[in-house]
């Protein structure tokens, strides 16, 4: 049995990452994610891993992709301003299909904003921050324990689908300390990158419908090309519209058509009632407390908490929302996930917004008040 320990959210990310096989971290200091870099610097040498503090956020993302190409599981962590800087290379990883995990511990923005204050304003950026149509997976934990488990899943999905995975934390979860027992996760499956066999006919970008070819590490005799240009199955640049269209369709399809495998969520009291709250990350915790208050007043409230933010668990939401009279999307921004929920519900049910974007965390009372106002 593992002992119950007091752990911080950012620390749980590092523990989860190391458990998942993290062997390379490159980063640049930024609040409120810095503990992740500090702990990686301290711990990675003891698991055969490597840590480097790069000259900037762009370089950190680049070094992570380079390390991943040698076969190492690689991660970086940042917050809003740094997340903006990393976007071009995140797009490179998406196009070149290089597995990597990017932690964004969200703080209040835009711009420098309030560096030590929580927000969830990077929901849309995590999906569309880099230019062009691209695949991405975004996961958001709402507790320290979940941060540990979801980090492992971030690595698994990244390796399995050869894609960057964004771990969308927020300052509250990053800095929260909770008593956790990780015993239940000791046998969690760890996905290891498969090694291709045929060196002569290796196609690093082979057309596999809704899937990916195994990625050979540099230095093992495969000698292939990796580029951010549109490329053929060998990875060589192409201007052929047919080849390009096929590539983009596969890139999008490998995520969109594997949602069943990728999508994670939690639901609470979703059998039906007055109000369905949709929330994620730390805001979902305030929702849970608000639910208890509202229950006392006889209001039946359910909670749908996507853990996979992108791709959004649309199928599940379509199943749940008709059981409720009204839907509220609760998030620490001016309404971002709201757009996705509104798109799915298409006006069939009222969808309201409950937002906070002043650097303060939600109190359950904020939510209770808004719900009551709606009656």
């Amino acid at each position: 049995m593992m002992p119950t320990v007091l752990m911080q959210g950012n620390e749980a990310v590092v523990e989860g990452a190391i458990n998942a096989g993290l062997k390379f971290y490159a980063g640049y200091p930024i609040t409120p994610s810095t503990e992740i870099a500090e702990l990686c610097a301290e711990k990675l040498p003891f698991v055969g891993g490597k840590f480097i503090q790069m000259e900037d956020e762009i370089a950190s993302m680049a070094a992570v992709i380079g390390a991943s190409l040698t076969g190492l599981k690689a991660m970086t962590a940042t917050s809003g301003p740094g997340f903006s800087l990393k976007q071009e290379n995140i797009g490179f990883a998406a196009m070149a299909e290089i597995p990597c995990v990017i932690v964004d511990v969200q703080r209040m923005g835009p711009s420098t904003g309030m560096p030590t204050s929580p927000a969830q304003g990077d929901v849309m950026q995590s999906r569309w921050g880099t230019h062009g149509d691209h695949p991405i997976i975004v996961l958001s934990p709402s507790s320290v324990k979940e941060a540990y488990y979801i980090t492992i899943q971030a690595f698994n999905l990244s390796e399995k689908y050869r894609t960057p995975v964004i771990l969308l934390m927020d300052e509250v979860i990053g800095h929260l300390r909770e008593a956790v027992n990780l015993d239940e996760y000791k046998d969690v499956e760890i996905f290891e990158r498969p090694m291709p066999q045929d060196k002569e006919n290796y196609l690093p970008y082979q057309y596999i419908e809704n899937g990916v070819a195994p990625l050979a590490p540099f230095g093992k005799g495969f000698r292939f090309h990796v580029t951010g240009l549109a490329h053929n199955e060998k990875g060589l640049p192409t201007n052929d519209p047919k080849v390009t269209e096929k590539l983009i369709k596969r890139l999008i399809g490998k995520i969109e058509n594997n949602k069943k495998d990728i999508v994670m969520f939690e639901e609470k009291d979703t059998e039906g009632g007055d109000i369905l709250l949709i929330s994620f990350g730390s805001s979902a915790r305030a929702c849970e407390a608000a639910m208890q208050e509202l229950k006392k007043e006889g209001i039946k409230v359910g909670l749908f908490k996507p853990i996979t933010i992108w791709p959004f668990p649309d199928k599940k939401l379509r199943e749940i929302y008709p059981r409720f009279k009204k839907v509220f999307v609760v998030e620490m921004n001016t309404g971002q996930l709201y757009y996705e929920v509104d798109r799915i519900i298409k006006g069939n049910t009222y969808v309201g917004k409950i937002n906070k974007f002043n650097g303060e965390f939600f109190t359950p009372f904020d939510i209770v008040e808004k719900i009551k106002e709606s009656f």
Partner: protein, 274 residues
């Protein structure tokens, strides 16, 4: 010999290359390949990383582990590769815009870190891929599409920058002095630490045409006539030297190398991670 090199080290299906007639990128790329061949490096253990621009397209033509990255970031990607797998020989191909402008920060910090990379900067004094805009190495008063009345920026001596930033091997060669260039690249690759080789090259299509520099042969001849070997350079008086530039090995010193230093820390922690 060149055709043997092509046979062995180029991805023939990618040829002919996209470079303009008269471009010297082929000369410099062949010098790199010849240096690798002369050193007898294992093809499977060589990694070529490039950024964005005309020169950067070289990586796609070469049959090694090749990575064509984002604009200015090749050295940062290469740092990740070398640190993660020190068994690889990592060579960065970059240009004057890629390395001296958008990639300047990564360049100086890689110099400072003295990580064991070899960076070859094809310096053609212009942004060629985008059609002839002035770069940090466009000579003052020369013309470019974004300097139609003459370039007012001062010339950026990237070798001096490399020395100032802490690189431990710095050399300058030209596309004309190809045997010397090959030798300089060979020594750069063999050198333990950060090696920088500036390869002065020519862009007849944009830089040459805009500045009435004549034919590609004229431009190569200009390199021949204005290059002064470092051994002679010190003996020349300033008046004689004023329109000349130095070629050869400018710096070759030993300093602690980044990857080895990290390994020392692991050794001190008594971590056996193999």
């Amino acid at each position: 010999m060149a055709s043997e090199l092509v046979e062995r080290y180029f991805r023939k299906e990618t040829l002919p290359n996209i470079w303009c007639p008269g471009c010297s990128n082929g000369i410099v790329t062949t010098a790199i390949v010849r240096a690798i061949d002369n050193l007898g490096l294992d093809q499977n253990k060589v990694c070529i990383v490039s950024g964005i621009g005309c020169s950067a397209r070289a990586s796609g033509y070469l049959d090694f582990n090749t990575l064509h990255t984002t604009h200015g970031r090749a050295i940062a990607f290469a740092t990740g590769i070398k640190f993660a797998n020190p068994d690889l020989t990592v060579i960065v191909i970059t240009g004057d815009g890629d390395n001296a402008a958008i990639g300047g920060n990564h360049f100086i910090h890689a110099c400072r870190r003295n990580i064991d990379l070899t960076v070859v900067m094809y310096n053609n004094h212009i942004y060629g891929m985008t059609g002839g805009q002035h770069s940090p190495t466009t000579p003052r008063f020369d013309r470019a599409t974004t300097a139609p009345y003459g370039n007012i920026d001062r010339y950026f001596d990237i070798c001096k920058l490399a020395i100032g930033a802490g690189a431990t091997y710095v050399a300058r060669g030209t596309a004309y002095h190809v045997q010397q260039l090959t030798k300089l690249i060979e020594r750069g690759i063999s050198h333990k630490g950060f090696s920088f080789i500036e390869a002065l090259s020519i862009c007849p299509t944009y830089y040459g045409r805009k500045n009435k520099k004549g034919t590609p042969a004229d431009m190569l001849k200009w390199l021949k006539d204005h290059a002064v070997d470092i051994k002679q350079g010190s003996k020349m008086d300033p008046e004689e030297f004023h329109d000349k530039f130095i070629i050869g090995e400018l710096l070759n010193i030993d300093e602690p190398e980044f990857v080895e230093e990290y390994q020392k820390i692991l050794n001190n922690l008594k971590v056996n991670y193999k």
